[in-house]
């Protein structure tokens, strides 16, 4: 009995000595969930073209925050966890400032430099060095019912007026994403910029949240709740609003370009009852859509930087990007591939503040915006507090 126990413990001890292996892949990549299988296909194509290399495609969770944390923990531990980073636009300053991404400025060919959208290249850069090759671009869009509204609104007042005019018992005026998450920030920023205001100055780090424009912007959003937007809008994310709009339950929808492709499945698009236009702004100011989008970066800890670059270069080629465009409706960040109907909107896209402290700053703003929209505080109080906490965060 004693010896059996001792043997067992020794066996377990041996097991406990097994450290992390590399699983005989040369490169590993943490991706979004690959329900449509298109990314697996692209990796298979890569294997066919570069037979010596093996890529381990790891499907991550759908929540982008969770993937960001997975990358962060992996980078913090210094091990070569993931070689390729499928990188959201807002992660670039954080990962680059931390020194976790390879500088790719000199790897990009001049031809590609001309073909990628300038704003996306800027979004993939930090302090004038390029860390992320853009793959897809995104910007906020106002979708509207062409069969109801002949001319899309250009200003907040027009949006309010038309929303009130054409809403009905089972049709809202305007749907947007009001749940407390990053999407809420993107919605608010469009209104804020439309009023001529700003959140954080990129160079001076000055916080502008308690200025009159910011308060007016939040007050406008708040004023839509219960009038042209349903009360439940403060619980909606993108998919909720898309589903409602696709089922004819709203006159206006603010959402992302992917909706346009998915609308193909609905009679609205087939009968040409839907149009899209730039997001609205205040009179005398310009429309500004929040820039989104994804790209590829390379981990500084990778053991195979050249192989990693080959994969990144491959995945961002026009042929590969087009495959994803057709299957998922994403808009490639290449001028040559942007459908004409999206071009004016993408041209007005604006970046969120490219600061390393973006994650906590966004969390602060999200919390206070949500508090004001759900009536827990007044817009002015909320933004004053948000400004104060953001200044404390940035050490101002």
């Amino acid at each position: 009995m004693r010896t059996l126990l001792a043997l067992l413990v020794t066996g377990v001890f041996a097991l406990s000595l097994r450290g992390p292996g590399r699983d005989n892949a040369d490169l590993s990549m943490l991706m979004e969930p690959d329900g449509a299988g298109v990314w697996s296909e692209l990796i298979d194509d890569f294997h066919a073209q570069y037979p010596g290399l093996r890529v381990d495609l790891i499907e991550g969770p759908p929540a982008t925050n969770t993937r960001e944390d997975m990358y962060t923990t992996s980078f913090l531990s210094g091990a070569a966890g993931y070689d390729i980073v499928y990188c959201d636009v807002i992660w670039v300053p954080k990962f680059a400032a931390a020194g976790w991404l390879l500088d790719l400025t000199d790897r990009l060919s001049p031809a590609d430099t001309m073909d990628f959208l300038p704003v996306d290249l800027r979004a993939g850069s930090y302090q004038d060095r390029l860390y992320r090759i853009p793959a897809f671009t995104d910007a906020g869009i106002l979708y509207y019912r062409k069969d109801l509204v002949s001319q899309p609104p250009a200003t907040f007042d027009e949006l309010m007026r038309l929303g009130n005019e054409f809403k009905s018992a089972d049709r809202s005026g305007f749907l947007w994403q009001g749940k407390q998450f990053e999407g809420l920030v993107t919605v608010y920023l469009e209104v804020l910029w439309g009023f001529g205001g700003d959140w954080i100055d990129a160079t001076t780090h000055e916080v502008l949240l308690d200025r009159p424009e910011a308060i007016r912007a939040l007050e406008f959003l708040k004023s839509t709740i219960g009038t042209i937007s349903p009360h439940a809008v403060t619980t909606y994310v993108e998919e909720d609003t898309r589903n409602l709009f696709q089922n004819g339950r709203s006159v206006f929808l603010r959402n992302w370009p992917y909706v346009w492709t998915l609308l193909n499945e609905s009679p609205l698009r087939r009968e040409d009852r839907v149009g899209m236009s730039p997001v609205v702004h205040a009179r005398g100011y310009k429309s500004a859509a929040t820039l989104g989008g994804w790209g590829f970066g390379i981990s500084r800890f990778t053991g195979n930087p050249d192989a990693a670059w080959q994969l990144v270069e491959f995945l961002t080629r026009p042929e590969q990007l087009m495959k994803v465009q057709t299957r998922l409706g994403r808009i490639p960040a290449r001028k040559s591939l942007v459908p004409p109907e999206f071009q004016p909107i993408l041209e007005s896209a604006r970046m969120r503040p490219p600061i390393p402290e973006y994650a906590p700053a966004s969390d602060i703003l999200q919390r206070w915006l949500s508090g004001a929209l759900t009536g827990r505080t007044s817009p002015e109080e909320a933004l004053k507090n948000a400004a104060r906490e953001t200044r404390a965060l940035l050490g101002m």
Binding site: P356, P360, G371, G395
Partner: protein, 304 residues
């Protein structure tokens, strides 16, 4: 035998180092895993070390603590932690006590009872969170299905989508897991009470309530105290349940102080501020424990 010397089998002629050797493995572990981290955390709390400082420490004196004072998110996380601890521990003790009283009378099924009631406590909190997340799911969860079938609800409740109900769901999961612990401790206490004390009350004509008030409760107090301390400390530090079940949402309403501290370290990469949050957590817990000690021990001094 001289005063202060250890009455043991180890002869005093053995050199000091041999006697101390017994402590070495354990103390080395404690030094590395407990002492050093506590000291380093305290050190970090007086520095700015974050992404902004390139992960290099810069002396910050009391800056972090000043920032703590104005941090509304800290206040709300303390509130969430307090609500969770208060409600959860109260519910556990009430149910645990009733269970102990009921089970104490039973002799026959004691073993089966212990196995059944012990299982929830043995499961990992993180897995229990997964378990209850499904039960509380609005569309596919068993709870809504049951309540609707019983006619108590007319339409599904999105438990985890609203602040109040999300906290309730978390508390239910926690009470389910930890009541067995309280139960076991109290049963051990009940079994310690001599029977003749009960008989004395009965002779005097006292009923069940008199028995409880004059015999059971006073004797249970030390056990209640032990279980209370353990549970309050554990509930205060809760992380697993929140992280897996709600992530701190909706809207940060269920974010407890451990979760906020973890986010600050691992997501915001603000190590100095995270350390000050950790220090604040310990200080608050110490103050709470101290207050409880004054309150309870003073009150029940005679019984203890």
């Amino acid at each position: 035998m001289t005063v202060g010397s250890s009455p043991s089998s180890v002869p005093t002629s053995i050199p000091r180092w041999a006697r101390l050797a017994w402590f070495v493995p354990g103390f080395l572990l404690l030094l590395a895993v407990v002492c050093y981290p506590i000291l380093r955390t305290i050190f970090l709390s007086f520095t700015h070390e974050s992404l902004a400082t390139g992960f290099q420490p810069e002396f910050a004196a009391f800056d972090n603590f000043a920032r703590l004072a104005g941090d509304s998110r800290l206040r709300s996380s303390i509130g969430a932690t307090a609500v969770f601890t208060l409600v959860s521990v109260s519910a556990e003790f009430l149910i645990g006590l009733l269970l102990a009283l009921a089970a104490n009378a039973m002799q026959r099924w004691r073993n089966a009872l212990r196995v059944i009631l012990l299982v929830p406590w043995t499961l990992p909190t993180a897995v229990i969170a997964v378990l209850w997340t499904w039960i509380f799911n609005d569309q596919f969860g068993a709870l809504n299905a049951l309540l609707i079938r019983a006619g108590i609800l007319s339409s599904p409740v999105a438990w985890l989508a609203h602040p109040g109900t999300a906290m309730t769901a978390m508390i239910v999961a926690d009470v389910w897991k930890t009541t067995p612990f309280v139960f076991l401790i109290l049963v051990a206490g009940l079994q310690n009470i001599p029977h003749d004390l009960y008989e004395a009350i009965e002779i005097d004509g006292g009923g069940a309530w008199a028995r409880f008030r004059h015999v059971t409760w006073p004797h249970l107090l030390p056990f209640v105290f032990v279980a209370l301390i353990f549970r309050i400390v554990q509930a205060f530090a809760i992380f697993d349940l929140v992280w897996v079940m709600t992530g701190g949402g909706p809207g940060g309403s269920t974010e407890t102080i451990s979760v906020y501290t973890y986010q600050t370290y691992m997501r915001y990469l603000d190590f100095g501020y995270g350390a000050s949050l950790a220090v604040a957590t310990v200080v608050i817990l110490a103050i709470t424990a101290g207050l409880l000690y004054r309150l309870l021990v003073k009150k029940y001094e005679s019984a203890l």
